[in-house]
């Protein structure tokens, strides 16, 4: 055999991390002006860690099918300020009867804030404001749950987040009006990178519903890298809906890290149809008894889109329940990646965990990699997992056509039906309508589907 030629760099050269260390230096003044000494130290540690880690490569198990080289290659600049967007720009992301807060390129756009009937003690504010108004609370929780040692994008966010959102719900309070967070990516002439940081803290027996929409206003490439930490206090009910609906020029690498205390009910609905390369890390730790975690997801991508949902559910205590259902619809040359780990600690007896990933391939060139995994150290548990990849049922298409439904409409109807069990799991009518509208508009002959479902 001939001498091995050096492989074309699958690793990202250090040069690609420079833009971020430069950005860190440029932002130094602003980043130092808020926060705490602990945060300053963390930021420093995180940017150093990122410089060591570099962008992940497909040689790393957790990134095997998701090549982020196109992000590393793009000459991105860390955003140092934000343009303004008009009310008209974001009107279609507005939900009636919701508290609303808008970030543009990772920074609060205060003119769009609308606080609706928030009960006493509830905080919905920018992270920068929260450092002023509730420093102890923020200090107690921010950057405590999403770990960056092993994760380049969490490291980037920890080091470089300029602003974000802080939500706090005190003990026993039920927030009736949902909170709608609109995270706008507003592309500029040069491609920007930004790092929104979100923290939701809920105290015992409280309840809240939060939407997190990622949208684009304008045209062009950008890279958004949000991290959200949620603390679900004892006996809380938290419903989280994430709608990832950016343009096809967006890169989106996100992490959701949830800490669940005993008797908490956390549900997450992760709906992804925008972005060129999208990664959703969704992690929850069930750290008290009798927790429930419901993790639903739907992704529908086309063209050259890639969406990667990377889940980790950690059962650390007995008698908890987790249920994951992620469904994917892949068209064109798109790629769907699903990795789900259910980890059950030795003492977490009577764990009841279900995980399923179902994929529908609508073209021969679409591709899917699905790897559900179990790591169970307890012996008295009920855990099931499964994944499927399939195409539309030919016989079902024929059956529908034989009743007079056109071929395209038949295909669309069956595609919609595939998505329907996720759609119906979306309890909030505003979000459900948005999702349905997206599907009706996206599917060929969607008007017939609208009639038929």
């Amino acid at each position: 055999m001939a001498l091995a030629t050096p492989k074309k760099a699958a690793t990202t050269p250090a040069a690609n991390t420079d833009a971020y260390t430069r950005g860190f230096a440029r932002l130094a003044g602003e980043l130092a002006s808020g926060g705490s000494p602990r945060l300053q130290a963390l930021r420093q540690a995180a940017i150093e860690r990122f410089a060591e880690l570099g962008f992940p490569t497909t040689r790393q198990e957790a990134w095997r099918f998701t090549n982020v080289a196109p992000i590393a290659r793009t000459p991105l600049t860390v955003a140092t300020d934000a343009p303004s967007v008009t009310a008209a720009d974001i009107e279609r992301y507005h939900y009636a009867d919701c508290t609303q807060m808008v970030l543009v390129n990772g920074r609060l756009a205060p003119e769009h804030t609308r606080l609706l009937g928030l009960p006493e003690g509830v905080v919905v504010s920018s992270l920068a404001e929260a450092w002023q108004s509730h420093p102890q609370l923020v200090e107690e929780h921010l950057c405590r749950y999403a770990k960056f040692d092993d994760h380049a994008f969490v490291a980037l966010n920890t080091a470089l987040h300029a602003d974000g959102v802080f939500i706090y719900v005190p003990k026993g309070v039920v927030v009736e009006t949902p909170i709608n967070l609109i995270l706008v990516g507003a592309p500029q002439d040069e491609p920007l990178a930004f790092f929104p940081r979100l923290l939701f803290v809920t105290e015992e027996s409280s309840q809240v519903t939060i939407f997190e929409q990622h949208v684009t206003v304008g045209e062009g490439t950008y890279f958004t890298c949000p991290v959200l930490e949620i603390v679900a206090g004892a006996n809380t009910t938290i419903d989280h809906y994430k709608l990832q609906r950016e343009t096809l020029a967006a890169f989106h690498m996100s992490t959701l890290q949830v800490k669940q205390h005993r008797d908490s009910n956390f549900s997450s609905h992760c709906l992804s149809w925008g972005g060129l390369i999208v990664r959703n890390d969704v992690n929850t730790t069930l750290d008290g008894e009798n927790c429930t975690a419901i993790l639903n997801g739907l992704y529908m991508v086309e063209g050259k889109q890639l969406v990667d949902n990377h889940m980790r559910v950690e059962h650390n205590m007995p008698n908890c329940y987790s249920h994951e259902l992620y469904k994917g619809i892949l068209e064109g040359k798109s790629r769907g990646v699903f990795t789900g780990l259910i980890y059950v600690k030795k003492d977490a007896q009577k764990t009841d965990a279900v995980q399923a990933n179902r994929n529908l391939l609508l073209s021969n060139e679409a591709l899917c990699n699905s790897q559900p995994q179990l790591e169970i150290l307890a012996d008295d548990v009920r855990c099931t997992h499964g994944s499927t990849v399939g195409q539309l049922d030919k016989l079902a298409i024929f059956y529908l056509r034989s009743r007079g439904i056109g071929e395209e409409a038949a295909r669309s109807l069956l595609t919609y039906a595939f998505a329907a069990d996720i759609v119906t799991r979306v309890k909030l009518p505003q979000v459900r309508r948005d999702l349905e509208e997206f599907l009706f508009r996206r599917l060929p002959k969607g008007e017939i589907v609208r009639q038929a479902v």
Binding site: K394, R403, I405, E407, L413, L414, A417, A452, V453
Partner: protein
């Protein structure tokens, strides 16, 4: 007037010929019964009529109301008035039975230059049809055929037929596996729709159905073609004697048709 004319139809899958030169003519207003042993190609004929692409037609013709049926896509055939009640109705999770029917009916109406039916009228219309087949309201709102019992699926097919109001209805063993009450419901469905403008092809394995739906013409199908045609008394004869004679005759014919091999 001639509703359907099939001449010398050859069809099959990947090199296996299943229909081997089939002729059949149905006039408007007539009810034809096709009987034959398992595997004789009855369902293949039904599926070819509905336009299933898995079967390749290699020779012959099908003329429906003067048009070349084989040129038409399945949905166009349906809109032109052909209805097939499947031997094995397909379960479609996630698609509601009643909304699906509404979309189908509207597709058909649009094709015929009629206006879309409005929701209230549709509901009243559907209710009247449900009574005929004694369908429980609950089955309307369930996904198409999902979790339906065998009998419910067959009744649902007849219900679809009632709603879509076809010109030529093909029933593929809709009676198989039904108890006597369900069988009577199916028969009533057909009888209520019998009219001088409509034709039926009733494929059945059992003579019993024909006690309730009295056919104008009975055919015996063996080995992919019609081997005998007669009046309703032919069904009784078959009941008494079985297909034995026909099967042997068909085998002999097939052998005679085979090229001599050394």
């Amino acid at each position: 007037m001639c509703l359907l004319k099939i001449e010398n139809l050859h069809a099959g899958v990947e090199g296996t010929e299943i229909l081997t030169g089939l002729d059949l003519t149905v006039k408007v207003g007539e009810v034809h019964a096709i009987m034959g042993p398992n595997g004789s190609g009855k369902s293949t004929l039904a599926q070819v009529l509905a336009g299933r692409a898995d079967y390749e037609v290699t020779a012959g013709s099908i003329t429906y109301r003067g048009e070349d049926l084989l040129e038409l896509a399945p949905e166009i055939r349906a809109r032109e008035g052909i209805f097939l009640a499947f031997q094995y109705p397909v379960e479609i999770p996630g698609v509601s039975n009643v909304y699906f029917l509404k979309a189908a009916l509207n597709a058909i109406r649009k094709h015929r230059g009629q206006e879309e039916i409005d929701a209230m009228d549709f509901l009243a219309y559907v209710k009247s049809k449900m009574e005929i087949v004694k369908m429980e309201e609950e089955l309307l709102h369930r996904p198409v055929n999902e979790g339906f019992s065998g009998g419910e699926k067959k009744r649902n097919e007849i219900f679809h037929m009632e709603v879509l109001d076809p010109t030529l209805a093909v029933l593929d063993e809709t009676d198989s596996g039904l108890d006597i009450d369900a069988l009577k419901i199916v028969a009533e469905g057909v009888n209520s729709m019998r009219s001088p403008e409509r034709g039926f092809i009733i494929i059945t394995h059992y003579q019993r159905l024909l006690n309730f739906i009295v056919p104008d013409v009975v055919h015996v199908m063996v080995g992919g073609r019609i081997v005998e045609t007669g009046g309703k008394e032919l069904a009784l004869e078959l009941e008494a004697k079985g297909y034995g004679g026909h099967t042997r005759a068909a085998e002999a014919a097939a052998e005679a048709a085979m090229p001599a091999s050394g």
